[in-house]
Structures are given as structure tokens and as C-alpha cells.
């Protein structure tokens, strides 16, 4: 029997050791003849989606799981939510082995996938909520309070009585989140929850998640391709490339480690001044009367006054390298040559 008691503050909520998942994929060569031969003889490869991952997450942490497409993020979330079993390794979530799918475990977490609908398509979301009340065995008064609170926070009161199929993507996502949080899960897995949403909807969802997470001390793991999500929500960032965790640390640390320079943008009065700026030797890009420089972080304090003293500079801004760029750099730094595949035939 596994320990299902309430986890103490000190105990980690998620503990993963050496977790690996291999898939067998079949190659389907092109052409009709090849397809016919494929009936008798198929070649397959083993793809390592996850290659022995270790991770510990404490209660109330909000972790971003980043990585390029196919890096293993979704596989990782599927393992943690018990949809799939690993090829090797162990995992405990809230003291349970996820893929044993104990009801006690399943009542304490939620998984939201941005591209998959949990709500009943032809019915108003209110009906799906009612069903959740029963399958998660929620107390009536508490259910109503939680529901009203979540619905208020997201401003979707008018939408709960409308059939889900009539709603926009953003509206649906908000109601999906309400449904997922009705049973007040202690652990929440979000797989690209803001995919395809407009800026306003993204912002609403950020505010909502931040509020709910702070209030309930929910442990959240979020995968996303939008750095806005990360900057708004997560203190900790885990980067997966090719099935390996290549970075795990606070967001600030990543920025620190990978930001070697700052972006300095100058607005010039006199276009002829650009030549002078270009001479100063930093990589620069001229866009009309505007010049964008990349200046070494250590030297910025020395260089900037010098530049500002020169004639014709009307305005200046100093910014960090965009998070997207830093993360793209991190993704590239993951070792692609380690993505070994084992050729087999059957």
C-alpha cells in the first residue's frame, strides 16, 4: 500500500527519479508497393521520449516546463497524471504512483490540455460542472461557492448556460479551467493552456491562475510556448530538450546565465550620426533614425555615458534580451547528438 496521507509542508508533492519513456514507432515508407510489403514486414524504431528524468517539486511551486516541440513535455505530463506508464524509473505525486490511478489520487489533481475538450460539447458548461460535483464527490455548498468564485474570477458568468459548442476558443478554455479547479486539486497540470488565445484572454488566464495558485497553494506544472505565460506565472523553469532536463532553476537565474548583453536602442535626431555610432564597434542594426546595439553586460556602465554624450541622440532605452531569444538559445544548447534511436525490425 502506498502512503495516501496528507503531505506535510516539507515533503515534496512530486518526486520523479530516472523516469524514462520509450515508444516504438513504425516507419511507413512511401508508395503503394511499400505499403503492401509493410503488411508483412514493418521496420520500427524505438524513440526515447523521456530519458531518465529527475525532478522534485514542493508544495505551492509554479513550474514552467519548456522545450521545443517533441522534446518530451507532454509525455512527462502524461506520466505524472497516470495516463501512461514509464519504461523505467519512478514517480510519486501526492504520495501516489500516478499510473496506478487510485481514485484517491485522481480526486486530488487535474489535467488541462489546451487542445482537448473535457466539457460536454452540446451542453452548457453548468452541466459538466454538475457532473464534476458528483464524480469528485463534492459537498454541495462548497461546490457552489467554489464554482461561483471561479466563474466570477474569469468573468464567464454569462457563458455557463450556453452550449459549449457555441463558445469561442478563449471562452471554452476559461470554462475548462473552472471545471478542472472545481474539486480544488492540490496538483494542477496545464498543457499549453493559452495556445491559440488572444492577448486579452491570455492575460485574464494569467491573472486567474496567479490568484488561484496563491490562494490555494496549488502545485502547478505548466507547459507552454509563450514566454508571457512564464514571465507572468512561474518562478521556476525546467527546460527539456530531447527527453532530458537541461536546465532547472529560477527564471531569474536563466536570464542571468544566458543574458550576456543588453539591447540598447537609440533614437537619433540626425541620420548622419549613425555612422559615428556604428564606429563604436558593437554589433548594431540601423533602422532609419533608430539604431539597435547589443552591448556586453559588463561594459554597459562604461559605454552608455559615452554614447549619450555624442551629438544627435534624442532618446535611449536599455532592455534585456527578450526571453524568447534566451530560451531559444537554451533549446539549441541541448545536445541533439544524444538523441540516439535504436533500429530494429519486425
Amino acid at each position: 500500500m502506498h502512503n495516501s496521507g496528507p503531505s506535510s509542508v516539507a515533503a515534496p508533492v512530486i518526486e520523479v527519479a530516472g523516469l524514462a519513456k520509450e515508444y516504438r514507432v513504425y516507419d511507413k515508407p512511401e508508395g503503394l508497393w511499400a505499403s503492401v510489403r509493410g503488411l508483412l514486414h514493418r521496420t520500427s524504431r524505438v524513440v526515447e521520449a523521456l530519458r531518465g528524468v529527475n525532478l522534485t517539486v514542493g508544495r505551492g511551486e509554479f513550474v514552467a516546463l519548456l522545450g521545443p516541440n517533441g522534446a518530451g513535455k507532454t509525455t512527462f505530463l502524461k506520466l505524472l497524471s497516470g495516463i501512461i506508464t514509464p519504461s523505467r524509473g519512478t514517480a510519486r505525486v501526492l504520495g501516489h504512483v500516478p499510473w496506478e490511478r487510485a481514485d484517491d489520487f485522481r480526486r486530488r489533481f487535474a489535467l488541462v490540455m489546451g487542445q482537448r475538450n473535457q466539457l460536454w460539447w452540446d451542453l452548457p458548461a453548468a452541466e459538466s460542472f454538475r457532473l464534476h460535483k458528483e464524480i469528485y464527490r463534492l459537498d454541495a455548498a462548497r461546490f457552489e461557492r467554489t464554482r461561483d468564485e471561479l466563474v466570477d474570477l474569469l468573468g464567464v458568468k454569462k457563458l455557463v448556460l450556453q452550449p459549449v459548442r457555441e463558445l469561442s476558443l478563449g471562452e471554452r478554455m476559461k470554462l475548462e479551467l473552472v471545471a478542472a479547479l472545481l474539486h480544488e486539486p492540490e496538483v494542477l497540470f496545464l498543457d499549453e493552456p493559452t495556445i491559440g488565445l488572444d492577448v486579452v484572454a491570455q492575460h485574464t488566464i494569467h491573472e486567474f491562475l496567479r490568484h488561484v495558485q496563491a490562494e490555494r497553494r496549488t502545485t502547478v506544472i505548466l507547459t507552454t510556448h509563450y514566454m508571457k505565460d512564464v514571465a507572468a506565472l512561474c518562478e521556476r523553469v525546467v527546460v527539456i530538450t530531447h527527453g532530458d532536463i537541461v536546465h532547472d532553476g529560477p527564471l531569474a537565474e536563466i536570464v542571468d546565465r544566458f543574458t550576456t548583453h543588453k539591447i540598447v536602442t537609440l533614437d537619433l535626431d540626425d541620420p548622419s550620426a549613425t555612422a559615428r555610432i556604428e564606429r563604436c564597434g558593437f554589433p548594431c542594426e540601423v533602422r532609419g533614425p533608430r539604431v539597435v546595439l547589443r552591448i556586453d553586460r559588463q561594459r554597459i556602465a562604461d559605454v552608455l555615458p559615452e554614447i549619450l554624450r555624442s551629438d544627435g541622440v534624442r532618446d535611449v532605452s536599455v532592455e534585456d534580451v527578450p526571453l524568447e531569444e534566451i530560451v531559444a538559445e537554451l533549446f539549441r544548447s541541448g545536445a541533439p547528438e544524444r538523441r540516439a534511436v535504436v533500429e530494429t525490425a519486425r
Binding site: I83, I84, T85, R108, L138, H183
Partner: protein, 288 residues
């Protein structure tokens, strides 16, 4: 801090199931329109059967075939059709296979809800809405054809008829659900479903009363094809309830047939459960 009710147990499961049923009912009502026409269409193949048998009886001097008069035959087809309204499960196995293929089955792995119970609730809802709409065309046809029926059976036979209908619903449900779960092993189950439908059509009594197989030897001494089919599940999804109503099966034979039907329900329910357990294990290991 949590909104969970502790305990709960079977009562809470029942409540969850009822809510599922209610919600499935609401969902079905969204699509009530396409039922009425579909039901009437179901009677069309029967018209050809009636013409065929009218021709058969016109061509022979015999008053009955395998104990069925022409009137019995018409009554039989109507009753078999009624039974099939309980036991046939349109879209069940292909729907299960689709949910496996497109991944929507994941929902039932993540949420604390039992997929088989959910499917059963959904199917009962489906049937209830169907009956509510279909009672008009069915009633109309039965009243129009009342002249073909023998006098209604006594109360005991009637209750056994109703019981056999309920069992035929469960049997059809568990057989098709199990068939759909083969989707965990092979991606496309439609050819399997087709093969099943074919066997079902021949051996359920949908095409002709199973009594007509009584004259066909199997090679085993003293055993006709009908004797073999009796031990298979198929005839309980069309022939058996109709034969009960018409008084074709009586006494100890009736008790035995009812026991066989009940046993098949239990066997298929277990098979369905096992297929789900093993299938999800396989899905978790290979797919996802």
C-alpha cells in the same frame, strides 16, 4: 483544505451515476429529431420479409414452416424487431474505438470515473430517448398488425418476456462494448464489427426464427444447428424474447434458456471489464 466529501462509498457512486444518466439524457435530447424518421426506416426491410413469406406460403400447401404459420411469421418479425430495439447498440463499438484512436478516452483515465459505467449510463439514456420517440411508429405498426398476433400471453410469460428484453439489452451492450475495446489492440475495428454484425444477423434470429435451424444436422449425433446456437449468446438478442411471447419455448426449456441468457450477460460483463483493464494497461504502455 479540500472540497472533497470523505467516504461516500456506493451511495456516492450511485448519485454520480444518476447525474451521468441525467446529463446523457439531456445530451441525447439535443438530437431527438433524427430518431423519428430512422425508426420508421427500420420497418422497411420487414415489409420485404412479409412479402417473401407470403410468397412462400402461397407456393406451398403446408400451413406452417418449422411450427410458424404465416401470421406467426409476421408477429415473429415484429417482436424480433422490438427486441432488437433493446439489444442493438448503434455506434457503441465504433464509438469506443474512436475514443481510443483520437485519445478522448484519456479523460476517463484522469478523472475518478468508471468508463464502462459511464457508457452504460449513456446507452440507457440513448435508449430511453429513443423509446420516447419510437413508441409512436412502433405502436402504430403493432396496432395495424394486431391481426397477425396470437392472443397475448399470460402474466408469467409476459414478465419473463420483459425480463428477457432487459437481459437482451445488457447482453447487446456488453458484447458491443467488449468489441469496441478491441480498439486498444487494433486501431480499426470496423471490419471486426462488420463480421460480428454478419454472424449476429444469421444466428440471432433477425433473419429467420432459430427453430428453422432445428432440421439442420451438425454431424454430432442428435444435435441440430439450433441446439448449438442455443448455447451461443446471439439468439438472446432477437429470437429468444420473440419466441417467449409467441409461446414457442415453455417449461424447463424456458428456464434453461433464461439461465443461458443471464450467464452470457455475466460472462460478457466480465469480458468487458477485463478488456478495459488490459486495454488501458496496454494503452498506457504503448500509446497515450
Amino acid at each position: 483544505m479540500s472540497g472533497r466529501l470523505d467516504g461516500g462509498g456506493p451511495l456516492a457512486s450511485m448519485r454520480a451515476w444518476w447525474t451521468m444518466l441525467a446529463i446523457c439524457l439531456e445530451e441525447r435530447l439535443v438530437y431527438r429529431g433524427d430518431f423519428a424518421l430512422g425508426t420508421l426506416m427500420r420497418f422497411l426491410p420487414m415489409v420485404t420479409q412479409v412479402f417473401l413469406w407470403t410468397a412462400v406460403f402461397a407456393a406451398t400447401s403446408r400451413r406452417d414452416v418449422a411450427g410458424y404459420s404465416r401470421n406467426d411469421i409476421v408477429a415473429y418479425y415484429l417482436l424480433a424487431m422490438l427486441t432488437r430495439a433493446f439489444s442493438s447498440m448503434p455506434g457503441l463499438s465504433t464509438g469506443i474505438a474512436r475514443s481510443i484512436r483520437d485519445g478522448s478516452v484519456k479523460k476517463y483515465l484522469v478523472q475518478p470515473v468508471d468508463y464502462v459505467s459511464f457508457l452504460l449510463a449513456a446507452r440507457i439514456a440513448h435508449k430511453l430517448v429513443y423509446y420516447a420517440v419510437a413508441i409512436l411508429p412502433f405502436g402504430g405498426v403493432f396496432i395495424a398488425c394486431r391481426g397477425f398476433f396470437p392472443p397475448p400471453p399470460d402474466a408469467t410469460t409476459m414478465s419473463i418476456f420483459v425480463l428477457s428484453l432487459v437481459l437482451s439489452f445488457l447482453l447487446g451492450f456488453f458484447m458491443e462494448a467488449t468489441l469496441g475495446m478491441i480498439g486498444f489492440w487494433v486501431l480499426e475495428v470496423s471490419s471486426l464489427v462488420f463480421a460480428y454484425m454478419l454472424v449476429q444477423y444469421l444466428l440471432s434470429g433477425h433473419m429467420f426464427p432459430i427453430d428453422m435451424l432445428a432440421g439442420i444436422p451438425t454431424g454430432l449425433p442428435g444435435t441440430s444447428l439450433a441446439d448449438v446456437v442455443r448455447w451461443l449468446p446471439f439468439e438472446y438478442t432477437a429470437y429468444f424474447p420473440a419466441a417467449v411471447w409467441l409461446g414457442k419455448i415453455r417449461g424447463p426449456d424456458l428456464v434453461r434458456a433464461l439461465a443461458i441468457e443471464a450467464a452470457w450477460v455475466v460472462v460478457m460483463a466480465i469480458a468487458c471489464r477485463v478488456a478495459w483493464k488490459r486495454g488501458t494497461r496496454r494503452y498506457a504502455a504503448f500509446g497515450g
